[in-house]
Subunit: 281 residues, 2 copies
């Protein structure tokens, strides 16, 4: 598992770097980005926040638009941003060129239906292969947090809830909170997982909350003027599920904010502080 | 001169808005972006920073990538970002589709050669038409600062040096500091202005410094690992010209930083503080 450096740029005294590598899990080449704060020169055990982006994104959107480097530099936090699906000519895509399925829309699950099952294993990649690569190649410890936006917010919640002990902290911006019960999720789950809706439950944060064996507190920000709120995101279903399960959830409705990176940039500092609180030491 | 709202998003308690309008100066429709900080609701006289972007950019790059909203919200500063050239099917472009001339590459001057002279009047637009529009439609005063990146850094310096009394503050990131003496500038000036190099001097910051009638202090940041530094940007020529003219210039070489928005984001706070210092009251 060797890393090929794609680009490198100084940022807030640290480094933004992009790497390409062959992913055994996904069966294709993948690019990810990492922000290394200035503290990287002085220690061998920085904590890592994994950021999962939303539909159509790559590793670049968060790094360019969230304004997170400033805070990561202050807090001594490494941030890793993978791509949002397997990529390449060998990886099957939606033939209609839609943006909510296929390339750029891996939904952070492990597909079981053909032709998707061979490559679309983003959950396994994000939870296992990528952290192993990061922890082998960078001066980080195994203190991991996870966050994301929209489809990536769904991904972050599911990664944390399915893998007890693996993440010390979790948060999300405008997550697809109950994918079994919204058009984006039903389309993706139906194709990647098949028609049996019972099998979808292990990829839905609302369903997973009931059976979670540890209670890592969840921070969620949701814009009040987000066009996708009612039909696709359904944060109130997450709130109800957390209440039923007795799971600690802080859901903040931010009036007037939409689904864009301006919303994320406005509140990313709070999220990074939420993570570093659990990740320090 | 009516404004058509293109989009609107909350950001750091304020608003990022994009507008379309018919530009009489440029003879085409133009889109610009404005960041309105939270203080916009409480006062009728906020200061305005004009930001001029570099080659290939639109009004969007700075707003999305510089991380400036956070500081503008703190400081009560309006930021206006115009496009980098006239646009549209009626506006002549380079027929070879190059990125360093024509659309996205107006160089913030007023062309005199055909077929460019009808539309390519970005200096007049940025200095006169756009501020008039802003000051008529938003709760701002006539306290103006100007800054920019690369081609836009050149533009900011030239706007300030050519228009005594119009800007209280000026700064630049990696400006094309001496366009008469670099390939980008020679190509653009030769086509927009014609073969007579004497006429180029009124669009070159190094030349203008000698004759400037007011001494507005200039702040310039330049990345030390910028691939364009030696061939295109030539900040040392600006430093020498400022020294000859006795013009106050703070030129900061930032080791390891490149030409990207990661460089701009890392130091934009210092620039906004430089501007607000001169723009307050």
């Amino acid at each position: 598992m060797s890393l090929e450096l794609v680009s490198s740029a100084r940022s807030f005294g640290g480094w933004h770097k992009r790497y390409r590598h062959r992913s055994a899990t996904l069966g294709c080449d993948m690019v990810f980005a990492v922000y290394l704060p200035p503290q990287v020169d002085a220690t061998q055990s920085l904590p890592v926040l994994y950021w999962l982006s939303g539909l159509t994104c790559t590793d670049e959107n968060f790094m360019q638009k969230a304004g997170a480097h400033r805070y990561a530099a202050q807090l001594g936090l490494v941030i890793v941003a993978p791509d949002t699906s397997p990529r390449g000519a060998d990886v099957p895509d939606d033939l209609d060129g839609v943006w909510d399925f296929g390339h750029g829309a891996g939904f952070y699950l492990d597909a079981v239906q053909q032709p998707w099952a061979r490559h679309y294993r983003m959950h396994d990649y994000v939870v296992n292969e990528l952290p192993a690569l990061i922890e082998m190649n960078f001066p980080v410890s195994a203190r991991r947090g996870i966050s994301g936006h929209s489809m990536g917010g769904h991904g972050a919640l599911v990664c944390a809830l399915r893998n007890s002990g693996r993440y010390r902290s979790v948060s999300a911006f405008a997550p697809i909170a109950n994918p079994m019960n919204c058009p984006w999720g039903e389309k993706a789950f139906g194709r990647y997982l098949g028609a049996d809706r019972a099998s979808w439950r292990e990829w839905d944060a609302c369903e997973l909350l009931a059976g979670a064996t540890e209670r890592v507190p969840i921070l969620v920000d949701q814009g009040g003027a987000d066009d996708f709120l009612e039909e696709q995101l359904k944060p109130m279903n997450l709130q109800a599920a957390a209440e039923r399960a007795g799971h600690p959830l802080k859901l903040r409705l931010q009036p007037g904010y939409d689904h864009s990176y301006y919303f994320i940039a406005s509140f990313i500092e709070d999220h990074l502080r939420h993570h570093i609180q659990a990740l320090k030491d």
